[in-house]
């Protein structure tokens, strides 16, 4: 049995020895270097560009400007292609843009012999702009007379949707309801994977090869082809080891431009690596959102009706666009079960800011911050018990979502909360921290977490797997689903070993995806891979097993149905007798002069289900009021992601998510110069990604309810841990100080004035 064990990662040895090859490690010497010229205005048009001086710089090979590129608008979101036109992503950008929509838009590219020449050329290009007033917030962008960024989107509204369950207007007429309102804001943050965005491209046999640090190789192939106006088969994408993605690389970033630049220099190898600074403003970010929530609650805490408005800051280009806002809206719909009605409308609005795309948990950290902070505000106002309030209002066991067909099968919320309360000492500390005085105070808070697994039924869910038996009985496996650091390759190998009946050590997964040879898959996003690929692995392994046993029939003169494969041996099902090793069978199959056979299997599984992934976070904090500082004393996340495939990796995944959510709550934010729209903190010194010293011990625990819809009982875990810590911390600060801060991150810049206003300083 392999599933459920904490086996070491299949890539661990290569990673601790420095042998694991990432994109930049594979580049041949003598690559041409490409660099992108970014606009120094936030909104306007490039009128003229003078490249004469730049072109004359020694080492400069070619300069391409926004006036040179084909007029093909394309979309970058890493979604499966949609056959239905209305479902396709918004194609609103060019390889280089004449119409500038953010400070840092791509307006030209230099190809040079080395990076110094390329940088010198960037500085020597003269640009003339026609400038328009910029808009940085959705409110400003939607205002009368605001400059319109994209011609088909009046008032800069990329999308506006709404829904109402029940009859809100009549629901709030009930007598005795208490109305509670609040506005909650979340910041724009960045993924900060440590490996920079990088790709290189060259031409071979009349096709363009792009090697890229991407989460989505097959989708990237499609988008590169679309952006260049080429048949999809003319592009080949290779994805080596990847230094973190977190959703940023679930977008096709600079691969199309890179491919185009190689094409422009006759297919020579061109490398395009962004700097850390560019990564901040020129790739993707998390949507900043603003929620206004109004709740109508009975004095006992039962929510009768709520309404909500969401404004989501899309930035300059659509990327994942309103899909993210829609997911935020679903949190509002599902986490709490309003007795009578709920109503929400959401706007996704273009602004002159970096483009927001996918980032770990896709709109849900924003919504959970709002909904769970608001829940705590209700609890505080009505003097309720936080746990009791949630039990009274949260999604009930047995809930069935008519759209996704998801079912809340188990009492996950209560089971998770129980573990969290016990670990953190909830009851004792809630009592202990009442009525504190003095400059340093402690508090305790919690938050629920809600998520799905994968993207069905909004988008296609499909995974393909190829397996073949080597002559020694070991297994080679390929999937389109990608290893991006989370441990997918290891989990996949465990699943394959489990179903096929071979030893884990005998599963050789090919980590690199190459769209020429890797079966079609969609890639790493939506916490989908263990769930969706699980089906494909199980199905393929069963097909292969059948083939092997069929082959064994010839050798053993026994019926296939009477045999099995266990630990790499063909055994008799009835008593476990080992008939022969799989290795011996494989050798025979490969070289038999009578009946040689290549034992392989390949299959595709289209998944038409989804699964809830629930959890919670409990945080204990110490607030130094005069210094405006919050220190986390203890924090725990508890998740029910079904059966754990590899407990150690699952725990590690939770640590990383908690870290991201803590940063979201306490320190991370992108800051802009209002006058120019320029990003101020585009580096890892000024963008406060936490160091080891900024991290408390991270406790990760699980509730393992075997997910009935899943091939291996598992469901989404990649993203959920990044959801609930920020709100738990915010609620703990409220508990400590009585001050409710509704905008994160809770930096001293925000806490100091808040404490001052509250008379604490």
């Amino acid at each position: 049995m392999s599933v459920g064990k904490s086996v070491p990662r299949v890539d661990a040895f290569d990673k601790v020895t420095g042998r694991a090859k990432y994109t930049d490690d594979l580049i041949e010497k003598g690559a041409l270097i490409a660099k992108v010229l970014h606009s120094t205005i936030a909104n306007g048009i490039v009128v003229k560009m003078d490249i004469s001086e730049a072109s004359a710089i020694p080492g400069v090979v070619k300069i391409i400007t926004c006036f040179d590129v084909p007029d093909i608008p394309f979309a970058t979101a890493g979604h499966p292609w949609a056959l239905e036109k209305s479902h396709q992503d918004v194609a609103d950008r060019h390889l280089l843009n004449r119409r500038v929509r953010l400070y840092g838009d791509d307006i030209a590219a230099v190809i040079a012999e080395d990076e110094v020449a390329a940088s010198r050329a960037l500085r020597a290009i003269k640009v003339e702009y026609e400038q328009y007033p910029h808009v940085l917030s959705p409110e400003a962008a939607m205002a009368e007379g605001a400059s319109q960024l994209h011609k088909d989107y009046p008032k800069n509204i990329l999308a506006h949707t709404s829904f109402e369950d029940g009859d809100f207007d009549s629901a709030i007429l009930e007598e005795g309801l208490i109305k509670i309102e609040g506005t909650y804001e979340t910041p724009m943050v960045q993924h900060c994977h440590i490996e920079l965005p990088i790709s290189y491209a060259y031409m071979e046999a009349g096709r363009i090869v792009v090697v890229s640090a991407t989460q989505i190789p097959h989708i990237t192939r499609r988008v590169v082809a679309q952006a260049l106006g080429l048949p999809w088969g003319k592009i080949r994408v290779i994805k080596p080891y990847l230094g973190g993605g977190f959703g940023n690389r679930q977008d096709v970033l600079y691969e199309p431009l890179n491919a185009y630049l190689s094409q422009q220099v006759g297919g020579r190898l061109v490398k395009l690596e962004l700097t850390r600074e560019e990564t901040f403003y020129a790739t993707r970010v998390r949507h900043a959102m603003k929620f206004h929530l109004t709740s109508y609650v009975r004095p006992n805490g039962r929510i009768v009706a709520r309404k909500c408005t969401v404004l989501s800051n899309q930035g300059a280009y659509a990327s994942h666009g309103h899909s993210v806002t829609s997911k935020s809206m679903t949190v509002f719909r599902q986490l709490y079960n309003d007795e009578k009605a709920k109503k929400i409308e959401g706007y996704t609005v273009y602004t002159n800011m970096p483009s927001a795309g996918a980032m770990r948990a896709y709109g849900v950290p924003q919504a959970i911050f709002a909904v769970e902070s608001h829940a705590e505000d209700i609890i505080t106002r009505l003097n309720l018990d936080p746990i009791r309030f949630r039990q009274m209002n949260m999604m009930p066991v047995g809930y069935h979502d008519p759209f996704s067909k998801n079912v809340n099968y188990f009492d996950s919320f209560n089971q998770c909360m129980e573990k969290g309360m016990e670990y953190i000492g909830w009851n004792e500390k809630r009592a202990l921290y009442k009525n504190q005085k003095g400059p340093v105070r402690r508090g305790i808070g919690m938050s629920l977490s809600w998520y799905n697994t994968g993207v069905w039924p909004i988008s296609l869910e499909i995974s393909s797997c190829r397996m073949l038996i080597n002559e020694d009985g070991s297994l080679q496996m390929q999937l389109g689903e990608t290893e991006i650091g989370q441990g997918a390759d290891t989990a996949f190998s465990q699943m394959a070993a489990e179903t096929l009946g071979v030893r884990f050590a005998d599963v050789h997964i090919i980590s690199t995806q190459d769209t020429d040879t890797t079966p079609f898959g969609l890639g790493a996003y939506g916490s989908r891979q263990t769930y969706v690929a699980g089906f494909a692995i199980k199905q393929t392994a069963l097909i292969l097993k059948q083939k092997i046993l069929k082959y064994a029939e010839k050798l053993e003169h026994k019926m296939a149905c009477d045999m099995d494969i266990v630990s790499g041996n063909i055994v008799l099902k009835s008593n476990g007798t080992v008939l022969r090793s799989l290795a011996a069978l494989a050798e025979e199959a490969a070289y038999s002069m009578e009946h040689a056979e290549h034992l392989t299997a390949e299959s595709t599984y289209q998944c038409k289900s989804n699964a809830y992934s629930f959890g919670c976070s409990f945080a204990e904090v110490e607030v130094d009021i005069p210094l405006g500082k919050v220190k986390i004393l203890d924090i725990i996340n508890v998740h029910d992601c079904g059966q754990l495939i590899n407990p150690q990796l699952a725990e590690a995944q939770v640590h990383g998510g908690m870290s991201m959510s803590i940063g979201y709550g306490l320190g991370e934010q992108m800051l802009f110069d209002e006058k120019t729209g320029r990003l101020l903190n585009d580096n890892l010194l000024d963008y406060k990604l936490g160091t080891l010293l900024d991290h408390p011990h991270l406790e990760a625990q699980f509730v393992e309810n075997y997910e009935p819809s899943s091939a291996y009982g598992t469901k989404g875990l990649g993203e959920p841990p990044a959801i609930p810590c920020a709100s738990a911390i915010r609620n703990a600060v409220l508990n400590a100080t009585g001050v409710a801060v509704n905008t994160i991150p809770l930096t001293p810049h925000r806490l100091f004035p808040a404490f001052k206003d509250a008379g604490l300083i």
């Binding site: 990076e115 110094v116 405006g628 320190g667 101020l680 406060k688 160091t691 001293p748 100091f752 300083i761």
Partner: protein, 293 residues
């Protein structure tokens, strides 16, 4: 790859000065943690460099015959922290520079570079001003000494004349003798950050530990350059060791500072920190000096 036009490596102080004369627009590079970053940013792209990185004669800490501590400018932060003389006589400086960046940065960053770049957020500057450090500057015209407060002339500016090299930072015995100091760096992260505000307090108590004979306080980021807060010092001088004295000094510090609002922090927050950190650093320094509160 850095955009460097040309690079010359000095093998002696004299050669460094000669190279400076020969290439008057060249930039001196010591550890590189500032200069290389500015080259990469484009600010100094295409510059000519004179590297003094290998001048081991400018490394280390020693004591002059009169008890003056002599800190050579190329001494890295981590070496300052580990140095036995610093540990014994000037521990707070070792602690202050130990708050800079992270371990790798502290291995490369030099104390000379940290003050020659003239930034107010320097983690050594506030402690050096609080100890009346003296800079020793060597040029073809000879050696001159300048109090560090005069060495800092404005944001990013120092009093180095053309062809002049910082060759030592001196701390007189009367400055460090019978003193205990404490530095608090306030930043948004616990490591790898620059100070939002830095406060370095040192005290000398009476023999019976009841009177503050002398108190000195230096700040980072409370003004365009690292500064001393003389009003705070005056408010504490000769006063009994007490919370009242601490609070009075902390209040008085507000008279000496002039922080500004930037996107990194508001003036109001910095003023709050001036008062609060002065209290906490002063209190800690008193405790270190054997006082009781």
């Amino acid at each position: 790859m850095y955009d460097i036009e040309a690079l010359y490596e000095a093998t002696s102080e004299a050669e460094a000065i000669r190279l400076m004369q020969q290439y008057p627009t060249a930039k001196l590079i010591a550890g590189g943690s500032d200069i290389l970053i500015q080259i990469r940013e484009g600010k100094l792209a295409g510059c000519t460099l004179i590297s003094i990185q290998k001048l081991d004669s400018l490394r280390g800490v020693s004591m002059d015959e009169d008890g003056t501590l002599r800190i050579k400018p190329l001494t890295s932060f981590s070496h300052i922290t580990k140095d036995p003389l610093i540990k014994k006589h000037f521990r707070v400086l070792g602690e202050a520079v130990d708050t800079a960046g992270g371990p790798q940065i502290r291995n490369i960053a030099t104390i000379g570079g940290n003050i020659c770049n003239g930034v107010t957020s320097s983690d050594s500057g506030s402690t050096l001003v609080a100890y009346d450090a003296i800079t020793e500057l060597t040029s073809p015209d000879g050696v001159r000494r300048l109090p560090i407060q005069e060495f800092y002339t404005g944001p990013g500016k120092v009093a180095l004349k053309p062809y002049e090299l910082l060759t030592a930072i001196l701390i007189k015995k009367e400055s460090y003798e019978n003193c205990e100091g404490h530095y608090i760096k306030y930043a948004m992260r616990e490591a790898m950050d620059i100070a939002t505000l830095g406060c370095s307090v040192n005290v000398r108590l009476s023999d019976d530990k009841t009177i503050v004979e002398r108190m000195r306080v230096g700040f980072a980021v409370a003004a365009p350059v690292p500064i001393r807060a003389k009003s705070a010092e005056a408010a504490a001088k000769g006063m009994p060791v007490s919370c009242k004295t601490i609070n009075a000094a902390a209040k008085a510090a507000l008279l000496d500072v002039s922080p500004r609002t930037s996107w990194r922090a508001s003036k109001e927050l910095r003023l709050q920190l001036v008062e609060e950190l002065t209290k906490r650093a002063f209190e800690q320094a008193i405790i270190l000096a054997g006082g009781e509160l």
